[in-house]
Amino acid sequence: MLKISWLIATAIAVTYGSMAQADWKPAKPVEFIVTSAPGGGTDNFARVVQSIIAKHKLMEQPIVVTNKGGGSGAEGFIYTKVATGDSHKLTFGTNNAYLLPYVAKLAYKPDELIPVAAMALDEFLLWVKADAPYKDAKSYIEAVKAKPDTFKMGGSQSKDTDQTLTSLIQDATGAKFIYVPFQGGGAAGVQLAGGHIDSNTNNPNENAGQWKAGAITPLCVFSPTRLQGGVKVTATMGWSDIPTCKEAGIPIDQFQMPRTVWLPGGVPADAVAFYADILKKVSQTPEWKEYIERTSQTDRFLTGQDLRTFIASDDAKNRKVFEQEGWIAR
């Protein structure tokens, strides 16, 4: 008797266990860890995903968003690393997830996190003041080359995407800038509008308002193809009218920043698949399309092997700049 009931119990346990495995679901509230301060680009990204999941009821469990933006986001990634095996913690970031450990000595390695998805690529543009005498990227770069170390390029933070791109531009053209790091892209945008710096490499979203108001103007976009969106932003120009930087004479094919989602190491593969599926559904909603359009990012959903390939190549490209500039922390 005892043996039979034990067998039944085992059978039930096995069936349930395997069912739970095949169909993993969060059993408690899910924490969204944002690796930026409230109001930053990553914060908006995570909160848009949260609002879409809530609106379309894609998940039964509630979502709690916490900001851990200390150390340019390292705080959040370390928090994720420490939570090894916890499938209820989803971390939102950019390529900072795998680039930060190069430039600062941090208590996590990128391979201690599991990439779930990249949901969009944020674009970088070269912006100057609207009343500056440069009508295209080429004439601006020529002006900078004529007077090296006098033109000020503003950007967000130090040894981060904006400074990396500035370094790439210098390499590709031979121009020399003074790079001035500000607390964020918003500040760099206002400094350009006020004429305190000569250019910046802000994302579309960070500068759209000032462009619309006629204070600043884009020269080119560091994307392989022109941006989407035929609607005019100013009287004469829309996003799709901006030439790519390659067209405009700066030989850089592509510089984009992925918006990424991660899980702690050691979580079951089914949990990774569960979140990848939810995020895929999010990326197909009209609200997501609206967010992509409003922030002029490129809609690109990557997961699984595609994602890993993308990360590997992005990592290698950035690493090269870091090594050359001597930013690698030892």
């Binding site: 409230p38 851990k68 790091p181 206002v190 006020g194 000032q210």
Partner: protein, 504 residues
Amino acid sequence: MENFASLLHGFGVALTTYHVMLMMIGVFLGILVGVLPGLGAPNGVSLLLPLTFTMDPVAAIILLTSMYWGALFGGSTTSILFNIPGEPSSVATTFDGYPMARQGQATQALTLAFLSAGFGALVGVILITVLSSWVAKFALRFSSPEYFAVYFLAFASFIGLGAASPLKTIVSMGLGFAFAAVGMDTVSGGLRLTYGFNELLSGISFLIAVIGLFGIGELMLTIEEGLRFDGIQARVKIRDVFKTIATLPRYWVTLLRSAAVGCWMGITPGGPTAASFMSYGLAKRLSRRKEGFGQGEPEGVVAPETADHAAGSSAILPMLALGVPGSATAAVMMGGLMIWGLNPGPMLFVERPDFVWGLIASMYLGNIVAVLMVLATIPLFASILRIPFAIIGPVIVVVCFIGAYTVAGRPFDLWLALAFGVVGYLFKKLDYPIAPLVLAMVLGDKAEDAFRQSMIMSRGSLSIFWSNGLVATLMLIGLALALGPLLSTMLGRVGKPKGSSVVA
């Protein structure tokens, strides 16, 4: 006059039953989170944010800003009653508010604080109603050298304030700068003073320091002095509230000056914290009752509160017009704007006038609602002080630690708060002033960033601080304020060698 018509339209938007209800709910929730140190306005607003996703933008921003006003008022309450500032900008309120409460004048201190805060906020809102387009353009003239000059001005107006020896002030300020430097550095991108502690990556939260230095440090002193609050005997009479309201016009000079300082610091992005410290410093210098400051002088409550709220409300405008948040709370609200489908920036005024003017009108109404509601809570809060210390003391300890934990949800912060508590206790015992440490901690890293950015821009030449009329004027005022007391001290020494009250 165009603005006036838009404002009337805005009142039409804001003055619906639904919106007024939202204001009251927002203010109420705000007072609750404001009273808990650590929870504070930024956390409260981000907790509430998900609820607003489905609301229309005007209703959502009214709810969030009302909560913000409520939290600011709540923060002043704890500063006065328990010496625990809920927000960086209400630190200066503790200097005279807490002594007043200990002398049994909690009701008067709270009433004065709330009324002058309401006055400051209204002046700030009137300013942005009248000058909205000019203010946005003016803010564009500020770059790193100008920022540094504004912070320098704030430090300068605070020099020579305490009764402590100048050397002790410098030690305290130096420690504050060191604490402010912990974490990731914007300019170099490197980590500083973290000693391998992951918890220090994001720096030392100002709130943790304040909870320890003020709250826990003060409790230790109280315990040592025999477990009692002097405020216990105070009777709470509703009449006192009205009596205090009647005394307010007496402080009209302080009110106007502080409101001007607040608006100035709100527009030039010095922010509410710089404003409240500066206003307190000026009030003390220019007052006829200098000796009373720090011992419960009502003017010492009026000045920082007025400036704090004037700066807080006038800072909303640069945020909307430039898309740069002036405070942590403003940053959360800006994130909200994006989710509701609005882009902060110069075009917001043109594209969504109903939203902008509805918001400005709601700032008038929200502040009036907030002042009425907090005035009604005074008897309740003031009577907390009548509870025996043996009961309220442990409750404050619990509230302090809950507050310290909610800042970032890290157990490490509890130890940090405790360590700061010991520091606060020692500072008081050895007669070191805490205020310079706090000021340096709040503005130190910003001032440092601005200075180093200026140096990068000018390629190492200090002449950038005299390079245009605006920055030169700011620096000159700053230098005059910094050197003024030193000079008068020296002159005073020469004149009458036995002068004992040399430190202004």
